[in-house]
Amino acid sequence: MRRLIIPLVLCLWASLSQATPDAALVRQLAAEDSSDKVAAIRQLAQAADPDAARILKAMADDSLYLAGDKAVILEGDTAFDAASGAPIATPANPEAVTVNNRIRGELANALAALSLFDADRAVRLASAQKLQNNVGADMAPLLARALEKEADADIKALLVLAHAQASLGSADPAVRLAAVNALAETSSPTVKSMLQPLTDKTAESDEKVRFAAVAAIKAIDGRLAIAENLGRVFSGLSLGSILLLAALGLAITYGVMGVINMAHGELLMVGAYSAYGMQSLFRAYLPDYVDWYLPAAIPVAFFTAALVGVVMERTVIRWLYGRTLETLLATWGLSLVLIQGARVLFGAQNVEVANPGWMSGGIELLPNLVLPWNRIIIVGFALFVLLLVWVLMNKTRLGMFVRAVTQNRAMAGCVGVPTARIDTMAFALGAGIAGLGGVALSQISNVGPDMGQGYIVDSFMVVVVGGVGQLAGAVWAALGLGIFSKLLEGWAGAVIAKITILVCIIIFIQKRPQGIFALKGRFVE
């Protein structure tokens, strides 16, 4: 759309404007030497009139030709004189003007600078943003003029920064000082590297500017570090909520029921494939509402995973209560069957699960700290699931029965709690919550048959660290492990961080075998 608008606006302007660019200067655009071309481009950009924009645009589009001793623009079958813009007869054998990468970069900059004078606010804003990170010293006068004309506050702020960057190369120390002070307010790594030369004695003669530059770099560094640490804490939070989603179901099956379910990761996978299935269904039957497949996938994933859980419990796990090591082996077998089942049904390759439109993008908190929406939504979703589990376990009849069976199975049976049915229900609940976790995972990681394997060690760690039989423990352990590992990753790399965490957990369990939140009193075995 914009491609159409810009030439339109430019044409309008062209009819209003009187002066045409110097023909010799335009001719220089087609010079043999690249440096001559660059000089011409820069000079044309200074003129800041629509004709210059038209010519440079043509050059960028590779439609600038040299015919005889005249620069012409060829558009399809019609030809124009480059300098005046008047239509002329198509020349005999026009020679294309070579545009190499250096020239192309120069053209992009010049065009961006020229669109600072565009009538459309959006175009000006985009161009000002484009100029933030690459602006040369010779653009300073142009930017100053644009600044004078500009009325919009947002664009003005951006232009001030761009102007300051451009004036860093100015010959006047006072101008440089003002520029450095203006740049001290920013927090971008490129600005920092731009200020770096000014701290050097050989490059910067004025002492005041040098001091100001050092102070400015320090200020920028401080802001960068804050943003970086905030970013790490946030990704830790997001990892923590994923761990929490993976571990909550386990906290019920293992923590509360004492069943080691090695197939828990595969229940996550079932949930993720449910999301994939819903996406395919929506694409096939409700293409208009495809963005809403995710909310629809939540109940589907819950019940599919719960169903798989019920089948697992009824056929295998029920016969192994109290024999934890055997349960471990049998559920490992179940996980192998589920993985292979997914391979047979959906193929061994990862399947593509797209983020819905409303989940893409993010909130820009600081210039170099963007919180992606999908992560924020997952943190929220984890809170929602946590609340759901808490309500189910503490406020419903089912939850009460589950707690009763956990505390004293025989007594619960005596007062009429159907213990066998409660076991199945509790296991189904744990499995269903794993399914919900799988839906969340499908939004941020690959969905494939082996996806669950990567989470099993982590989720057991969460449950073990948090303490068996404790929801609160699982929450704190998940968040703690998430944030701790992201902070560690920041300075040690992902693999070392993971190993350190595992070693820390092994040491931690030596000291507190019951986890952070040990059960006290009569519930201790």
């Binding site: 192994l320 082996l329 179940l334 089942g341 957990i505």
Partner: protein
């Protein structure tokens, strides 16, 4: 009066078992070389190099399974990290093989040249000496097992907790070995071996020697383990398995019993790994993956826990099935393995050996 050690070892097996063991060794050391080298290739009785490598590999696995049975069957401790000790032994011996594969003794292994390293890391020191490497094969798994086991058993971590921590241990080690900077070849591990003690790794003679060594090692381990579990130590260990707190009240400290059998088991795994690497010709970090370690447990469970001979049978049955499935029906192998895990734990808690005993009893009752 105590009988001398030789007599005690001799009496740990009955005469029938000694006979079986003798037949096994005769088969492995005489018949197999004859079938491989002397019988012409087109004969039906010829034993191919593939078959020898396969059986040699499975014998290494059987050795691991016996080691696992010592700790799980007799100690009641399920380790999901035995793949780590196996891989450590394999890597230790692999270091020697990598040094031999270079053009001369001073040459760096190919992957280090690829990483542009100028000299060997300190832990590769002496890896060109066969004796030192054999020492490493034993000492490294023993040391890792001792340190880990000491802390774990001292804080009385048992049951599922222990299993999960061992799984985390091998997982962490796998991640560590996957890094190129660790100095063990990263993803690719060690491969392209050429020489072992100046002989080509791939020559039929070397293959047969390695095969025979593995068979002898397996037989020796079996005798040693039988002796160990029938000794006083073994009986205390079994008693700790069945009732730890009672043994503590009587005055035994379970720590040292568990730790000893744990270290012995780790060392046996390390030796198995060292025998495995030259026969298979590759070692990489995937040997440490949790899935591999848990598969060891199923060999033992299929054969029958606390029987020593059962795990060997289990290792052979499962691995032969694996070779057959992965060639004929690759899609169904995981289904089969998964169902095996389930069926064995649900219906065959004593494994194949238990089933056999039950059938024998029934037959005896009928007669």
């Amino acid at each position: 009066m105590r009988k001398p050690l030789t007599l005690r070892v001799l009496s740990s097996l009955d005469s029938k078992s000694w006979l079986a063991l003798g037949i096994f060794l005769a088969l492995a050391l005489i018949l197999v070389p004859v079938l491989n080298l002397a019988v012409p290739e087109d004969s039906a009785f010829h034993m191919s190099a593939y078959a020898i490598t396969l059986i040699g590999k499975i014998m290494c696995y059987a050795l691991v399974a016996v080691a696992m049975d010592l700790i799980w069957g007799y100690g009641g401790i399920l380790s999901l990290g035995h793949g780590l000790f196996f891989a450590l032994g394999g890597y230790a011996f692999g270091m020697y093989l990598m040094r031999q594969a270079g053009s001369d003794a001073a040459a760096l292994p190919a992957f280090m040249i690829f990483l542009d390293w100028k000299e060997l890391p300190w832990f590769w020191l002496g890896s060109d000496s066969f004796g030192w490497v054999i020492l490493l094969v034993v000492v490294v798994p023993a040391l890792v097992a001792f340190v880990f086991g000491y802390f774990a058993f001292r804080s009385r971590i048992k049951g599922v907790y222990f299993s999960i921590i061992t799984q985390a241990l091998t997982y962490a080690a796998m991640l560590l070995f996957f890094r190129n900077e660790t100095g063990f070849g990263g993803n690719n591990g060690f491969t392209d071996f050429r020489l072992v003690l100046e002989h080509s790794v791939t020559s039929p003679q070397t293959r047969l020697v390695l095969f025979g060594l593995t068979a002898v090692m397996l037989a020796a381990t079996l005798v040693f383990s039988r002796w160990l579990v029938t000794s006083k130590f073994g009986r205390v260990l079994t008693a700790i398995r069945d009732s730890e707190s009672r043994m503590m009240f009587i005055g035994y400290n379970p720590l040292w019993y568990k730790l000893f059998i744990w270290v012995v088991s780790a060392v046996l795994c390390g030796i198995a790994g060292a025998l495995y690497v030259p026969q298979v010709g590759i070692i990489n970090p995937s040997e440490m993956s949790p899935a591999n370690s848990i598969e060891i447990a199923i060999w033992v469970a299929v054969g029958g826990r606390a029987t020593l001979i059962g795990p060997i049978i289990g290792a052979f049955v499962v691995n032969l099935a694996k070779s057959w499935f992965t060639v004929s029906f690759p899609e169904y192998w995981l289904f089969f393995l998964g169902l095996l895990f389930i069926v064995v734990t649900l219906m065959l808690p004593q494994g194949l050996v238990g089933l056999w005993k039950k059938l024998m009893l029934k037959k005896g009752a009928a007669a």
